[in-house]
Each structure stands twice: as C-alpha cells, then as structure tokens.
Symmetry: C3
C-alpha cells in the first residue's frame, strides 16, 4: 500500500498515512505565534484536531505524543490546555522535554502518531464522553503539580498503589 | 513475526524491522564528525539511504523524522542539504529541535521510521522524480527562511490558504 | 480494533496498545527520584520491564528508544546500566540527547515502542540469552567511551568494516 500525505510539501508533510496509522509533523503555533504558551497550545491542538480529522481519526486514537517546550517552567500552563483537550481515560503515551525550537515566538511544539481504525466506532458516544471528560479534566487541571513527572499527583498515587498490589500478588 | 535487525550491537542496532516498518537509530556523522553542519547532514543522510536500502525501502517511504541540532541557528544550513535530498511531495512528517548531543563534533542527529512495502512500486519513476525533485528543492533551499517553523514560506502560505478554503467550506 | 491502555490517566497513559505494537510513555524515576543517574536508569528500566510484561512482550522486542538526559555528561553512567539491561544482538534503534526534564530530580527519561507478537517465541532461550548477554554487556560497559556516538568503539569499528566491505562489493 502506497503512502498518503496531508499537505505534502517540499521539505515535509503535515501528515503521512500508512495502513492504519497516521504520523503527524511537529506542529507549531500558527495564528498564536509569539502569544502565551496556553494560546500556542490551543492553536497547535486545533491544528492537530483538523489534521487527525482529515486522516479519518481523532484525538482519542493518539498512540503517542512528544511535546517540546522552550521553557520547561511552562509545563503547568501547557498542561492546563492539554488536560482540558484530552478525553480522560483515552489518553496517549506522552513525553515532554525542554528544547529550543525553530524560531523565536515558537514556545511549544507537539508531534503525534495515531491509529486510524476504530475512530468511527468511538464516534457514537463521543459527545457525551467529551463533556464528561472536560469536567474531569478541569478538576485535574486545577490540582497543583505534584512535582515529579508528567502524571498528575492522583495518577502517580494510583500507579504506585497498582504496582504495590501487583507486587503483593493481588 | 520475529524482528530483523541491521547491524545489531550490544547497545543498539542501526535498524530494527518489524512487519512492514523499519525503525532507524539516531544517526550521527561518521566521516564528517566535527565538520560543517551541511557536511554532517550529507554524511548522515547517506548513512540513512544505505540503511533504508538494506531494509528494502527508500527515502520516499519515510513516515517520520526527528532531527536534533546542537545549535538551532544551523537550521537553515541543515535544511539546505535536507531540501536537496528529499523528493518534493514525497516528504515525511518531521520535527526539528535543539539538543546537546552525545559527543563534541556531533552537531546533527537524525532518526527516521519508514514503511517498507511500496518502495519497489515507486522505483520505476524514481530517477526522473529525483532529478525533478532536486531542481525544485534547490530553488526552495535558496529561498530565505520564513522564520516561523519547519515549513518553507511557500508551504506555510499554501497551508494557510488550504485551511482558509476548508473553513469556507470549499 | 480499539486501543487498549495500561494505567490510563486523565493526562496520559503508561502505555497504549494498538494491534501488535505497544507505545510506552516517557518513563521517569519513581523511587529513585533525585538519586544517581545509574539508580534512576535502573528504576526506569524496571518500570519499562513491568509495563512491557503487562503488554505481553519484553525488552528484546523494543523497536525504538528515545532517551533524554538532563546532562549529556552522564551518558556513560546511563549506558553502564542500559548495556547490562539489553540483550546483546537483540537491541533496539536508539537516540540519546540532552534535555531539561519535567521536574528537579528527574535526570533521565526513556520512551520506547515495542512489538508484541514474537515475545513468546523468543521465550524458550531467554534465560540463557540473558545470562550470556549480561556477561558480554558488562565487558562492553567496562570499555571506555569511544567519544563519537551512541555506538561503542567496537560497534563503530564493526560498522565501518561492514560498510567498507559492502562498498568493495563483498
């Protein structure tokens, strides 16, 4: 099966589709260039939504996300927008690190890979899911950063408990 | 299906093949170690070409590329070589960020993933494509950096126009 | 086929499974937070082992690994643990770069993707492989850094010889 591309360019493409996976470019802010990290993140996630839609899938099907911030101190600000965007429980694997990006005014860059099949199946309950998701996510966003990693404090605690239970043979 | 590896080592492999995809290591300059960013990029892309060939595919089948530069100010210099290497319109998803790399003299590192099937199908017209590609790419390389992102100015303009048209329901 | 997730959270999941591949989050030290880079690496690799196991696969099936270090000078220290962990000859594609990470005390972050099928097939000889592997890896870990890249000096020499032989048409 040949590759399909979204907005193929001379240097790179916005996305490349191979079988049941789509690989998106690292997206940077467009209209929000030079604005706040929250606005840049919203701008990028809107571009990602549009590109995933064009590929026939959506954010609940993202497999992995790499996020770069020019200043890791903006981690919480980026997360406040991210947490309100993802659907809780249908979240991707993710890693966020600091890196200088391609040009001044770009303070966030996000690159994702998503599965394509199945997006339609999830479609029926999506409206409700998203609504419920946003409420829960807002609460999570309001919670203070636990300090240690990409997981929220509750998530870290839950993971620790799970691991402890696993070790105890439960 | 078991994995196949190219140059498997004690620490890492040059590439790992699983079904119809090949995952390449982050390649760093070999002979061009310590030389200019343009020379390092050419060196790396030649290694990638050879590895993709060994895997039974080629650069038109790259799904995604991650590029690290020790100095993001060398973005245009790296791109001048990249733009002449890729085949316009058959380009991968890509993200480029700044990062200190494993040793002094390494100023560029590139990691790619590619599809394997289909490379042969593209083979027939490849000579012509590449020739045409290089001409177009040279022109693009000569164009000044637009400043904003990984896309060239023309590509950004084209993307904006496309998005506007989409929004207008065209 | 829908996605399966391991430790799905509001912000991210520990891992996402799609068909015969599993995508792990960027893992950071848990108990070893703030300790030495060697201890942090061991902690992370143990978490990765547990997550791969939960996904029905193991470290010999890792396709690619991205490693971030807050200080690239700790490259050799991280590698001493990594080299003893991987099974020589069954190693993934890998890239390691420097980056500031999400919080103080996190000096290593590792993100991997693995194939799922085949892990069982490899199971029969695994015990023996690992034993042999650890011996060989310890020797490799003891060898001084060649300076140039992620490959050990022997691996670089072997790759050069292979390339030379290939060019000579052998």
């Amino acid at each position: 099966m040949p590759l399909k591309r979204i907005e193929p360019g001379k240097r790179m493409s916005s996305a490349v589709i191979h079988r049941n996976r789509v690989y998106l470019a690292g997206f940077t802010p467009d209209a929000a260039l030079g604005k706040s990290v929250a606005e840049q993140t919203r701008d990028i996630l809107a571009q990602i939504d549009a590109t995933l839609k064009e590929a026939g899938t959506d954010k609940t099907m993202i497999l992995k996300a790499n996020i770069w911030l020019t200043d890791i101190k903006t981690f919480a600000e980026m997360n406040s927008v991210w947490d309100a965007w993802v659907v809780p429980g249908q979240t991707p694997a993710r890693a966020t690190v600091e890196a200088k990006l391609a040009a001044p005014g770009i303070d966030v860059e996000i690159m994702v890979e998503a599965a394509i099949e199945g997006a339609a199946e999830a479609g029926g309950s999506k409206g409700a899911d998203r609504k419920q998701g946003k409420g829960a996510a807002k609460k999570a966003g309001a919670a203070k950063q636990g300090g240690a990693a990409n997981w929220s404090p509750e998530e870290r605690a839950a993971r620790r408990a799970k691991r402890a239970a696993r070790k105890a043979g439960k």
